[in-house]
Assembly symmetry: C2
Homo-oligomer: 353 residues x 2
């Protein structure tokens, strides 16, 4: 499919890297593509960033038939532009599509289109270590219809946002709260898909956690409220007796690409690595007997986020000495060094522009 | 709060009642109101129907922070315009708001604004028995921001759509399929709120049911996949040994207003009425021994929808003789007669314009 390009008349100015936050500033151009049953995906175009004009009856507004992805483009010291495992994002986008009755998108074409967009916007990619260009591919239902069914028409778009260093204030451990009252997802549901409603369902518990001074929620499984699943915007890892443990994918956990990268590196480094069920009781026992030495989250935004405290009911578990654990630091450096071209891409994870 | 009114220059034409379907045709005007932390809900206005201009980063597009309601306005034979328990809809909208971290709306004002809108659009309310004006109040998150949190700004709007008779082809029993693979909601989740993601989460199971020739999905509970919860767009009732049974509200079932009306009438009529847990095993046993005499759904769209067949795995349960059950007919007539002003409003359910 051809991609038409319409450029802005006057290029916008990227803010200073030091002024960048997350997700509030967008680049001059976006990618758009439409779907209908007759033409399939069609009208692929790079065009100036603009508001969407949507009917108040647009199905996604009412029934949330929306999926998305999140990834980043990095600029190396040599000025090269790199993507980190973008194929995995488009593969997951199609998995989400199947789960939400949305027509799939050709993954190779999606990557090609993203690269074309990045070529147009390459001046928008920040350069300071830790900064990057956040990429948000999204598909939403566009039929103007109030009946409940899968939409017949869709929009796919890619939005770009220059973002600051996640650890602007330092790579410090965060505090997370295990929710006893709220459940994010359950087997047989849509927890493993990156769909809008999963995030809406997490808001109330997150607000309550913040009120208690906790950065994020650690979710338990929906069936028994016993097994650890994932943190708000991250997957979770524990180091117990030198074993690197993360909850096994079970249908209600998002299959994180950073999660997968941590597992791959851990195995390569000869660590004992387990994807398995881990209960809150096991975690509490491991904390009590001292065998729990580290906890950290993994995700696109933070890469690795060390966890220094986990609260479950009255049990406040402090992990480590207030500084990031050794393995959190090691994984974070290994992955970010590959992302920013400061280390050899031994895993074949990098896609250059 | 004042409500400003801007009228269309030229009124649109309502289609013939016989040409009306559901949710595809909208009236000339809509109600809009905005929220921000400084002003609260403000700028209440009735204005010509128009598309929304929204940023591609609008939070609801990504994180599904959206709630809505569905109710109807009816025209009586005398030409009066009636609403059915609208206070209950606005009460539920606020319950959904609390569950989704959305600022509440003054319920009395919401009703007043709806009545104002209906006065402007009274020519759009169809007159043939069974037809009505469908009302869709909706709130969605409008911050243009990609971080995951509750939005700081919102839009509330009310969309009106003239709709045809639900039973244009007759009041016939439908076939429903119990899903073994999919789960809609779980305790601790958002199943009891009318939020967009619940509907997205129902699509795949619904499509599979349709492929098997079933109209809708009957959902089991998310914890044990054993207890009956609700049908796709309706609550569910069974008549077993002359007891009218519906699943008790447990946090994962939508608290239907028609459901509540059926319960109230059933009790008034001296029936044995139970809101309790009902397992699929109990249902299968009651079918087997002949004590299950009726099943029907309840909801705003259909009012009462008789169920003639329920499939669970290999067990196909036929209920009744292919015609609607006596109680389904009785509840449907009693409620629609009140809605259309053909019976006395003994329950004080009607709000006249």
């Amino acid at each position: 499919m051809d991609i038409s390009i319409t450029r802005v008349e006057k290029q916008g100015k990227r803010p200073e890297d030091s002024a960048l936050g997350f997700g509030t500033i967008f680049t001059d151009h976006m990618f758009n593509m439409d779907y209908n049953p007759e033409k399939g995906w069609h009208n692929a175009r790079i065009e100036p960033l603009h508001n969407f004009s949507i009917s108040p009856a647009t199905m996604t507004l009412h029934y949330g038939q929306t999926i998305f992805e999140g990834l980043k483009a990095y600029k190396t010291a040599k000025g090269e532009i790199q993507l980190f495992r973008p194929q995995e994002n488009f593969k997951r986008l199609n998995s989400s599509a199947r789960g939400l009755c949305i027509p799939e998108i050709d993954e190779a074409f999606a990557l090609e289109a993203l690269k074309e967009l990045l070529k147009v916007e390459k001046e928008w990619i920040p350069e300071t270590p830790g900064t990057s260009l956040y990429i948000r591919p999204t598909v939403f239902a566009t039929d103007p219809f109030l009946g409940v069914r899968a939409s017949h028409t869709y929009r796919y778009f890619v939005l770009l946002s220059p973002v600051g260093a996640y650890y602007a204030e330092g790579f410090n451990p965060v505090k997370i709260l295990i929710s006893k009252d709220h459940v994010r997802a359950v087997r047989g549901g849509v927890g493993e898909y990156k769909t809008a409603g999963n995030y809406a369902a997490s808001l109330l518990a997150s607000e309550k956690a913040k009120e208690e001074g906790y950065a994020q929620v650690l979710w338990l499984d929906g069936v028994e409220q016993k097994y650890i699943e994932e943190v708000g915007a991250m997957n979770i890892f524990f180091v117990i007796n030198d074993e690197l443990v993360t909850p096994m994918l079970n249908g209600s956990i998002l299959p994180g690409i950073t999660r997968n990268s941590v597992l791959q590196l851990g195995r390569k480094w000869g660590m004992k690595v387990s994807e398995r069920k881990i209960s809150i009781d096991e975690l509490a026992q491991a904390h009590k007997d001292g065998s729990l030495t580290e906890a950290f989250g993994s995700g696109t935004a933070a890469v690795i986020s060390p966890v220094g405290e986990i609260k479950y009911g009255d049990n406040i578990m402090h992990i480590g000495d207030g500084t990031p654990g050794k393995l959190a630091v090691k994984f974070n450096e290994a992955i970010t060094n590959i992302q920013y071209g400061m280390a050899e891409d031994t895993e074949n994870w990098i896609e250059k522009l």
